[in-house]
Subunit: 380 residues, 2 copies
């Protein structure tokens, strides 16, 4: 039985905090810390954009050491991307200042940044704020942390799933930011998943890969790919359950919980998409395989013409046909069947069948609106 809570509840032996360090001129919270009292396994996924932000490159360096990790430090308001060697040093120094302040091993701190691209990270502000950030760590600090990672988001994205392995209760808690795939200059999507599950490294990595494929890789706001997309999951084993591994029966339970967390956070990102008035689900059926189904669905979801039609509640389904054809999948017009729920509702479901096989995929997207343009024309 999965118990689902629509708020972030920290798993055992985790603490968190969020403060305003002055990176955001508005004075809003902009520096978050997620901390595990005991070393944790980590599994991560990063953007496939060829230009990767400094924090991602530093994480990759640390992850090569295949150690355990204990903390994630996150700033919003600055992406620390396209910042050269200086940016790499800033990201690395951030982790080292933090590891000293907390008293944990060097290189056991992961780091993420989100905000404008191409401006130097204000390291001094971060350095001066870290003592306060660490002092304020608490079991309830997750509510500040989840807010401190936001940029153009209008609400925090959070969810917790609990389930049992024997008499042990496992908690999987996720928080995310992102108002769509969206805005590379705002560094887009960050997601942190904390669990007290006792799980092997390979099982955690396998589960995360599988869940991300069905959730965060199935959402799009504008097809623009970020330089900073980061998903980090930490599993500290504090719940002392029987070890979860890829080949035992507990794995599917954990996978199910993680899937709920990832899919819900992904949908919340779309519900908060910049300027959106619609939440649109596109299901492609009878595809050759999942990858093809998702490819076709994303082609529809990324069509500005489809998205403006949805905004206008305009049943101009020729645009879906054109997008399917543009996806390069070898379909004839006779192979295509379409249906859509009423367009005047806030949530719209579109189903397309393409007669290539038996696989399907569902993608989530938003409409394209004048408000999206306003937000992105003015942002800097």
């Amino acid at each position: 039985m999965m118990r689902i809570y629509k708020k972030a509840i920290l798993p055992l032996d985790f603490q968190a905090n969020g403060i305003a360090s002055g990176i955001k001129k508005s004075g809003k919270l902009d520096l978050a810390l997620l901390y595990s009292g005991i070393p944790a396994k980590a599994a991560c996924q990063f953007t496939s954009n060829k230009i990767q932000a400094a924090p991602i490159r530093i994480n990759k360096k640390y992850l090569k050491e295949k150690r355990d990790y204990q903390a994630i430090i996150v700033n919003s308001g600055n992406a620390n991307c396209f910042t050269g060697n200086r940016g790499l040093r800033d990201a690395e120094e951030t982790t080292q200042i933090l590891s000293k302040a907390v008293g944990i091993k060097k290189n056991s701190v992961l780091v993420a940044s989100t905000g404008i691209i191409g401006k130097r990270l204000p390291l001094l502000k971060i350095r001066n704020s870290i003592p306060k950030l660490v002092m304020g760590l608490s079991r309830y600090g997750i509510d500040k942390a989840k807010t401190a990672i936001l940029t153009t988001d209008t609400f925090a994205k959070e969810i917790t799933v609990k389930f049992n392995i024997g008499s042990q209760i496992i908690t999987v808690c996720g928080i995310a930011k992102g108002a769509g795939m969206i805005a590379p200059n705002m560094a887009t999507m960050l997601c942190f998943i904390l669990t007290d599950a006792r799980i092997t490294q390979r099982a955690l990595s396998k589960a995360l890969g599988s869940c991300v494929n069905n959730s965060f890789n199935c959402i799009t706001v504008d097809g623009c790919q970020s330089t900073n997309d980061t998903i980090i999951s930490l599993a500290n084993g504090a719940s002392r359950n029987n070890l979860i591994d890829t080949d035992n029966k507990h794995f599917n339970l954990f996978l199910k919980a993680l899937n709920i967390v990832c899919l819900e956070l992904a949908k919340l990102i779309i519900k908060d998409a910049e300027g959106a008035t619609k939440f649109i689900q596109i299901r492609v059926e009878k595809a050759k395989n999942f990858t093809q189904a998702r490819h076709v669905a994303l082609n529809i979801a990324n069509s500005n013409l489809f998205k403006t039609a949805m905004y206008g509640e305009n049943p101009n389904f020729g645009r879906i046909i054109a997008a399917i054809g543009a996806s390069r999948v070898d379909v004839g017009e006779k192979d295509i069947k379409m249906k859509a729920s009423p367009l005047n509702k806030k949530e719209i479901k579109v189903a397309v069948s393409i007669k290539q096989g038996d696989a399907c995929a569902t993608v989530y997207t938003s409409d394209l609106t004048p408000e999206y343009i306003k937000i992105n024309a003015e942002y800097n």
Copy 2:
């Protein structure tokens, strides 16, 4: 010496006409005829969208016969796409009614349609209008024809280039429609190029392929690919010049003239892009080859975030970086150099250098504006 005229002037032995057949409810011109008094070589390029409109499929059938051609009939207001076998019969019958009315060989008529996808072509209206269309053919009818092919365009796209081969004057005249790559449901871009040059089939095809690659394949409004994109060039040889072939010196002259025609029409389409307030030129330099340069330039040009930044005159160049990285070209951030002309002008030039080699490409695009959304939210 190339003489350039910013209007359509028919080459020798061509006539044209345009009338209102009632396909457009507005009563505007919607049926055009381009006619050569003598059989002409034809070279064509069609959309690579897997879903192709009926007129394209009929043209491909006729072109397999490798004959000469004498007429092009074009309707606007209906794309005759996603219309099944009925649509194929409608397109074919249109050409046959016309060939009888003009008294030319069956299958020597090419056909193009532009407008909404998925609605049956009103063949009866076309049939009833063809006598009037043919009767009105004249040397000056090109002004009606160029208007009858438009949909959301706000002006007709036209250009004529004249040059000499010996004492013979060759005229190359082009007209086009399209308010961007743009709107698949409005069937996007049509272009017709008429010339009285005496040229071999292979030279005409080679020249067209080369010119399209540098012009129409280098423009984008919204990255949405049409089901109806069509470029047809007819060369009737009426100027009686020494035959142009791929291996003689006249070929480069013809190529130069055709290039001017294609590039100017392509730019005019972008200048008329739906809702656009900016004409943006993106030049990518130091690429491995032309294809890579164009690929990177198109990735920037199709980024909604770049386009909204240009609309907002917002120097948010991190969005260019993110788009380059998303193009999958293996560049590091140190390889990239950028500059841009002032953003508060109507015409903006962006130059990007990527340190991969010596090739370059220029792509033309527009900004993304609330007006684009309004036009496409309401169109049906």
